[in-house]
C-alpha cells in the first residue's frame, strides 16, 4: 500500500514535471515561431570592432537557424537608450518601440527597472538558462536583483594595460598608482566621468580608500556620502596635479587611452575586457610588448546583461536571439581570445572538454594572472560619484 502510494507519488511528480517541461517547450516553440521573420534592433556599445564583428556573426547565425533578423545599433552610452525608451513611454508609445534588445547593466538597468521600462520576467524561461552558472552573481546587478528582467551575457573585470618597455614594474594598488603617477609626471589619466570606464575607475579607488568597503553595497546615503567619499576626493586632489594635462582635461573614453598608450603619451590604459589588449596587439593598434595586469587586492568585476524594453516590437525575436547568445556554442566563441575574449557566464562543468579548452587559450597581451574580483558598489553610488566629480573637476 505504502509502496503503491510512493510509486504513485513519484509518477505523478514526474508526470507533473514532464507536463511543466512540455508546457515550457510548447511556450518556447510558440515564441520561436512568432519570432520568425521579426527584426530585432539590438542596441549595444559599439566602441570595439571585435564585439561588433561577433554580434554580426551571431546575427547571421540566428538568421540562418531561426529566421530572425538582427540589426546592431551602435551606441556610446546605455544612458542614451534609457532616455529614448523613457521619452517613448512619456509620449505614449507603448508598442512598437525603437529598441528591441539592449546590452545593459548597473545604474542603467536600475533606471529601467524602477521606471517600469522593461519587459519580463523572461530571462530564466529561455532554454539556455540551464547552462548558466548560478554560482556566479548572475541574479544581482550592482546589488539590484534582476528578477528575470535581464539575462546575463558575460563577465567583465577592470584590467589595466601597460607597455613592458616603458613600465617594467606596474602599480598594483591605489597607493602605488599615486606614487607611479608622481614619478611619471603627466603620463597617467583616466576617462572623464560619466564615461562608464572612468566611473568604474573612481569606484575602484573608492573601494580601496574607504575605511569599510561593505558600506558600498548599501544604497548611497546623502548625508554620509560627503564623509564616506572624502578619501577619494583627497586622493584625486593629489593625483590630478601629476596626471596628464595636470588633470585639467581627460581622455573621452578608454579607446582614446589605448591610442595614447600606443604612442607613449600615457603609460597606463584600462579596459573591462581582460583580453582587450590581446585583440589590440593582434590588430597592430598596440605594440607587441603590451601586457595586462590587475591590482593585488583585486579589481572591480561585474556581469553584463541583455534586457528587453517593455514596448519592444520584436519581443519574441529578442528572446530567441538572447537564447542563442547564451548557448554554449555562442558563449564559447565569445570567450575565444581570437574572437572577443569576453569570459562566459556558463557553468564550465556543463560543457564539453573541447569547449572548456577554449577558455584557457592565451595570446600575447592578455591577462595571465588571476586577480580577485571585487563586487560592484550599489547602483546609486554611480550617480552620486559622477555628479560630485563633475561638480569638483568638471570645469577647469
Amino acid at each position: 500500500m505504502k509502496k503503491n502510494l510512493l510509486v504513485t507519488a513519484i509518477i505523478s511528480v514526474a508526470a507533473f514535471t514532464n507536463v511543466q517541461l512540455a508546457q515550457a517547450d510548447e511556450k518556447w516553440d510558440a515564441i520561436a515561431s512568432t519570432a520568425k521573420g521579426q527584426t530585432v534592433y539590438f542596441n549595444a556599445w559599439g566602441g570595439s570592432d571585435n564585439i561588433n564583428k561577433y554580434v554580426k556573426w551571431a546575427g547571421d547565425e540566428v538568421k540562418k537557424r531561426y529566421g530572425v533578423n538582427v540589426e546592431l545599433v551602435k551606441i556610446t552610452d546605455a544612458g542614451e537608450v534609457v532616455k529614448r525608451i523613457k521619452t517613448e513611454k512619456e509620449a505614449g508609445r507603448n508598442e512598437g518601440g525603437s529598441v528591441d534588445m539592449m546590452w545593459v547593466n548597473g545604474e542603467n538597468f536600475r533606471a529601467l527597472k524602477t521606471n517600469g521600462l522593461l519587459h519580463g520576467p523572461w530571462a530564466e524561461s529561455i532554454p539556455s538558462w540551464e547552462f548558466v552558472d548560478t554560482n556566479k552573481p548572475v541574479r544581482k546587478d550592482f546589488s539590484e536583483t534582476t528578477d528575470g528582467l535581464e539575462a546575463p551575457w558575460g563577465t567583465a573585470q577592470l584590467t589595466f594595460i601597460a607597455d613592458k618597455n616603458a613600465v617594467a614594474e606596474p602599480p598594483r594598488s591605489a597607493k602605488e598608482l599615486l606614487a607611479f603617477a608622481s614619478k611619471n609626471n603627466g603620463r597617467v589619466s583616466y576617462p572623464k566621468p560619466p564615461n562608464f570606464h572612468g566611473t568604474t575607475f573612481l569606484k575602484q579607488l573608492l573601494s580601496e580608500l574607504v575605511s569599510d568597503a561593505s558600506i558600498l553595497a548599501e544604497p548611497v546615503n546623502e548625508e554620509s556620502f560627503a564623509s564616506v567619499s572624502q578619501p577619494l576626493w583627497d586622493y584625486l586632489d593629489k593625483l590630478h596635479p601629476v596626471s596628464w594635462r595636470e588633470g585639467k582635461a581627460f581622455p573621452a573614453n578608454n579607446a582614446e587611452m589605448h591610442q595614447k598608450l600606443a604612442d607613449g603619451e600615457l603609460k597606463l590604459s584600462l579596459t573591462f575586457n581582460p583580453n582587450d589588449a590581446a585583440n589590440l596587439v593582434a590588430k597592430e593598434q598596440l605594440p607587441p610588448s603590451t601586457y595586462s595586469f590587475g591590482f593585488t587586492n583585486g579589481t572591480i568585476g561585474n556581469v553584463h546583461f541583455l534586457a528587453i524594453p517593455f514596448n519592444a516590437k520584436a519581443k519574441e525575436g529578442a528572446q530567441v536571439f538572447a537564447n542563442f547568445l547564451l548557448s554554449p556554442e555562442a558563449q564559447v566563441r565569445k570567450a575565444d581570445i581570437t574572437v572577443w575574449g569576453d569570459p562566459s557566464v556558463l557553468d564550465a562543468s556543463k560543457l564539453t572538454a573541447e569547449q572548456q579548452a577554449v577558455f584557457n587559450k592565451r595570446a600575447p597581451g592578455s591577462l595571465t594572472e588571476v586577480n580577485p574580483t571585487l563586487p560592484e558598489p550599489h547602483a546609486t553610488w554611480v550617480g552620486a560619484l559622477e555628479t560630485e566629480w563633475l561638480k569638483r573637476y568638471g570645469s577647469q
Binding site: Y41, N43, G46, G47, D49, E71, V73, K74, I75, T76, G79, E80, V82, K83, R84, K86, T87, E88, A91, R93, G96, S98, N108, A111, G186, R187, K192, R245, K248, A249, F250, P251, A252, N253, A255, E256, H258, Q259, K260, A262, D263, G264, E265, L280, K283, E284, Q285, P287, L390, K391, Y393, G394, S395, Q396
Partner: protein, 528 residues
Amino acid sequence: MLALAGICLTLFPIVPGLLWVLSPAFNSATWVELVQDGQFNSAVLSTLGSAVGSTLLALIFASLVTMWIYPGRGWSLAQKQLPLFLAFPHIAFAIGIAFLIAPSGWLARGLANLLEWGSPPQWVSIRDPYAISLTLTLAIKETWFLIWIMATLLGEQAISRQITLANSLGYSRRQVWITALFPQLLPRMGWPLVAVLAYSLSVVDMAVILGPSTPPTLAVLSWQWLTDPDDMTQAKGSAAAMCLMLLLGLLILTGRGVWWGVKKLYRNPSGIRQPGKIFKSRLLGGIPVFIPGWLSLAILLLWSVAGGWFFPKLFPASLSLKSFNNADFEPMFTALWIGIATVLIALPLTLAWLEWGSRKHHGWLYAPLILPSLPIAAAQYHVLLSINLDSTAIGVIWSHLTWTFPYMLLVLVGPYYSFDARYLCTAQALGHSRFQACLNVKWPMLIRPILAAMAVGFAVSVAQYLPTLFSGGGRFATVTTEAVALSAGGNRRVLAVQSLLQTALPLCAFMSAIVLTAWYARNRQGLK
C-alpha cells in the same frame, strides 16, 4: 500653391516640436539650475570665444587673401582648388587637423625626430581649454567659404571695374580695398557671415573632436544633457539650447551695432593718395590659404594605408591596403542613398518655389541655416515620435530636407531670378503651358546651376550629424556618424578610411555635376 504646400510640409511641423523641446526652458527653476551648474559659465565663454573668434578670423583671413591675390594667376589657382576644399567635409578636415597637431601627431613626430624626443611632448594642442584649436580650424574652413562668397560678389562687374578705375586715379590697391571695396562687400556678406556665426556657435561634431572637454562648449553640453535620462538634466539641456539661440540674436545685434558705429566713424574718408606697393600677380599666392587643407588630406591618406605606426615614426613602418579591404562600406552607402533621396525630393520643391513662389517674402526659408541645429534636430525627433515615424528612413530624409532645401535655394536663387524672362514668354506665346515651358526651356537652360545646387544639397545631406542621430534613432549609420564616433577611438586607420569615404561622396557629386553639365552642353553652344 503646391510649392507652398510642399514647403509647409517640410518646415512647419518643426515649430510645434521646437516648442515642445524648449518648453522646459520656460520654467524659471530650470534657469536657476542652469546658471548654478559649474560647467555653464566656462561653456558659454568657450562657445562665445570660438564662435566670434572663428568668424572674425575667417573674415580677416578671407579679406587678406582676396586683397593679396585678386585678380591674378594666384586667384585663378585658388579658384581651382576651392571646390575641392568646399566639398571637404568639416569633420574629415577636423580629424585630419587632429592627426596633425596632436601631441602624438605628425608635427610632433617631425619635431621628435629633430629634437630626439622619446615620448610625445606634453603639449596642449587639440581639446585645449580655451578652444583655440577649435577656433582656428573653424576659421580655416570658413575662410574658404568666405573666399567663395567674395569670389561670387567680385564676379559682378560693377565691383571689379572699380579697382581699375581707382588704380587709374592713382590709388594703391590697399587703399582701394579698404576705402572703396570692403564697405561695399561687407554689407552684402552680412547673411553669409550670420550663417557662419550660427554654425560656429552651434557646431557639435567639430567641438567633440577638437573642442575642450572640461567643460565642453555649450552646444555639446546641451546635447549631452538632452540625451540624459534624468529629467532635470534634460530641462537644463533645453534651457542651454534656448541660450544658444539668445546668444546668436545678441551677437547679430552687436554686429549690426558695430557696423553702424564703424559707418559713423568713417563717414568722411580723405581722398589723399597713399603710397602703396606694386601688385605682382603671384601664382604661388593661391596656395598658402589651402596648405592646412592639403596637409589634412595627406595625413588622412597616410593613415588609411598605414600598418603599425607608432610614435615617433614619421612615416608608417609598413603600408597596406588592409584597412580598405576590411573597411565597412555600409555607412557610405547609407549616406549615399539618404543623400540622393533627399536631393531628389528637395529639387522639385526648390524649383516649384522659385517658379511659383513669392519673390519678395522668401527670407524666412533660410531660417534653418541661421538657427542653431541642435534644438531643431531635437524638435524633429519629437515630431517624428508623435507620428510614429521616428527611426524610419522617411523620418531621416524629412529631417535632412530642413537643411538641404535652404542650401539648394541659396545656390539657385541668383541664377534663377536673373534668368531672362523673355525665353519663357516666347515659349508660352508659342502655345506651351507654363509648366511645359519650364520643363522644356527654362530648366534645361539652367542646367549648370541646377546640377551645382544638387551637388551642394547632396554634400549638405552627407554632412548631417545630429539629425541622423536623433531622427534615425541610431539605426542609420552614415559616414559622418561613424567618423565622429570613431574620432574618440583608438583605431586611427579605420577613422582615416571613413573620413576619406566621407570626403569622396561630395567630391564625386561635384565632379559628376561638372561632367554632366559638360556632357549636356556638348552640342549646345549657349550653355557652355
